[in-house]
């Protein structure tokens, strides 16, 4: 094992230890935000794979998240909870008695989202650029509308309440292990994928489709592959989000949700795994910290009455600034690497 792999392993272990320390020391509120960070890391990475590495401008993420969230919720809830939820119209009998352990439900949620991704991707991935964005956005809305109207399966606009907590035992300490554990797994999968020959083919497609095709790269196959993997992780992210909040309804999966993830990806740098991770953490925390802006603000003795949604305005301004002045985002397409840190150390030692 070489030096870099050892460093990676050490930092992963250090991070897991950190998770336990944080778990003990942080309050419930802080811990919840921290979990949310992990979930957004998963979501940002899955979108970055599609948008950043293959260059497909997809806006369908909320739809895949919805598929994942509903699948996982319906599979993990007990029969009594389901009966309590579905009071307008009873739940379909084949779903009523199904209850599987959380890990299995989570995987099924990912697979269902991936199937949705495959079904939508097959026709839509023949489009490019803006047309692709519009088509995926449309399909994401279609998923939402379907979920609003399938009363006996998804409970329609009433949504589903009382989702069990993330994990097998249902204890709160387990939540962070799942969210950040899966986030870590996602990071590893993405890094391995991007550095494989598939990853190079993805980048080639992003750079120049015609040249990529002339190299013998099968465009459709690779686009589908990225789209399906992206939707799989989106489904898992959506499922975790639903279980963290404890309630889901179709309105949660509006375009705004996709917008939030696009914001994270753009701020972090389109085509950078490191950028997405940093940006997911920073933006998620900032979204909470900046809640101050929504409330009343006192400046020099004057009280300005709070305007709900003010922080979203701040974020929109931030996004515009990034697009105008810092187009490549935080990291551009650069990645964190041990070489970079080791070389820096050498330089400082020399000087």
């Amino acid at each position: 094992m070489n030096k870099k792999n050892t460093l990676t392993l050490i930092s992963i272990i250090a991070f897991i230890v950190l998770l336990f320390i944080l778990n003990i020391n942080l309050g419930i509120y802080q811990m919840r935000i921290f979990n949310l960070c992990g979930i957004y890391v998963i979501l940002a990475l899955s979108l970055n794979l599609i948008n950043g590495f293959v260059g497909l401008f997809s806006l369908g993420h909320a739809g895949f998240m919805a598929v994942g969230a509903y699948t996982c919720a319906l599979l993990t809830m007990s029969r009594e909870m389901k009966e309590m939820n579905f009071f307008l119209e009873p739940i379909v009998p084949w779903l009523k008695n199904v209850q599987v352990p959380f890990p299995l439900a989570l995987i099924v949620a990912g697979i269902m989202a991936a199937i949705a991704g495959a079904l939508i991707g097959a026709p839509v991935l023949r489009l490019r650029d803006d047309y692709l964005a519009i088509a995926t956005l449309g399909f994401s809305e279609i998923i939402r509308v379907i979920f609003t109207n399938t009363q006996s399966i998804t409970n329609g606009a009433l949504g589903i309440k009382g989702l069990p907590s993330i994990g097998i035992t249902g204890k709160t300490w387990e939540v962070v292990i799942w969210t950040w554990g899966i986030a870590l797994l996602t990071i590893i999968v993405m890094v391995l994928l991007i550095n494989s020959s598939y990853g190079r083919a993805f980048k080639a497609i992003r750079e120049d489709e015609i040249a990529a095709e002339a190299m013998g790269i099968n465009l459709f196959k690779h686009k589908m592959m990225a789209f399906i993997i992206g939707s799989f992780f989106a489904g898992i992210g959506g499922a975790l989000l639903g279980h963290l909040i404890g309630t889901i309804d179709p309105r949660m999966f509006f375009i705004v949700l996709t917008f939030n993830i696009v914001l994270i990806v753009v701020l972090g740098g389109i085509g950078s795994i490191t950028g997405s991770v940093i940006s997911a953490v920073v933006v998620t925390i900032a979204m909470e910290v900046l809640r101050v802006l929504d409330g009343d603000i006192i400046i020099g003795g004057y009280m300005i009455k709070g305007i709900p949604g003010m922080r979203m305005v701040v974020f929109s301004v931030l996004l515009m600034m990034v697009i105008l002045f810092y187009q490549r985002g935080l990291m551009g397409t650069k990645e964190f690497s041990w070489d970079w840190i080791l070389n820096r150390k050498k330089k400082t030692v020399k000087s």
Binding site: S197, R200, A201, K203, A204, R206, E207, D208, I210, A211, A212, E213, A214, M215, G216, I217, N218, T333
Partner: protein
């Protein structure tokens, strides 16, 4: 090696290729000259399957490859250096070359070819870690050719390799084409720079608005009055 018979290509209502027939014998340099819009690029693109032909046949090494998938044609050893270079701008020189060998699985041979390509283009070796988009036009063209060589072509098709390059560099590029030819690669070359192309070609075709109007050995075409008038300037 490559036989094209009566190939027709339509772009919507436009009849771009009107039944052309071309022969590319093994180990020869064949060139296709003609003005803008004559259908030169379309010919290459239909050979490699990027454009679908409406009728006619393309036979390569005794196998019909008409309208086959690009991937399958490339793996048979037919490689295109696309017009306008089309290197992957945000990837490094090395990544570009590795992508050239995308369909190959023989790792050892790929490594050897990489060394060979670097020998052929010492300029690229100096710039292994540079992003392709930041190099000059000539260097990018070299990279495009080098990338195509990494596919281990038997038939290399080049679409206007001299486009937008300084005369000195054009000379370099044509020198390299000869070098590659010496290694036993058959070359189908498309050029607007008719003089340079005909000088190195064994055989040439003149294409005009989708049909072949003239063909002959390179040197014969060079001295042909019509070619002189139309493409070389008297």
């Amino acid at each position: 090696m490559l036989k094209i018979r009566d190939l027709n290509v339509h772009y919507g209502g436009i009849h771009a290729l009107k039944g052309i027939s071309i022969d590319v014998p093994e180990n020869k340099i064949v060139t296709l000259i003609g003005a803008n819009g004559a259908g030169k690029s379309t010919t290459l693109r239909s050979i490699i399957g990027l454009v679908k032909s409406s009728s006619g046949s393309v036979v390569y090494d005794g196998q019909t490859v008409t309208n086959k998938r690009t991937k399958d044609i490339v793996s048979k050893g037919v490689v295109l250096v696309p017009e306008g270079r089309r290197v992957f701008p945000n990837l490094t020189v090395e990544e570009n070359l590795i992508l050239g060998a995308y369909i190959r699985k023989d790792k050892e041979a790929i490594k050897r070819d990489m060394e060979w390509v670097y020998q052929l283009f010492p300029r690229l070796k100096e710039r292994v870690w540079q992003k392709a988009g930041t190099m000059s036009g000539g260097e990018q063209q070299m990279l495009a050719v080098a990338r195509a060589l990494m596919t281990k072509p038997k038939l290399l098709m080049m679409d206007e390799p001299s486009l937008g390059l300084a005369p000195l560099i054009v000379k370099d590029i044509f020198g390299i084409i000869k070098e590659i030819h010496k290694e036993g690669v058959t070359i189908l070359l498309i050029e607007q720079n008719a003089k340079a192309a005909l000088e190195i070609a064994d055989y040439g075709y003149v294409l005009e608005t989708g049909s072949i109007v003239l063909e002959g050995e390179g040197k014969h075409l060079l001295s042909n009055d019509e070619v002189q008038k139309a493409y070389l300037g008297e």
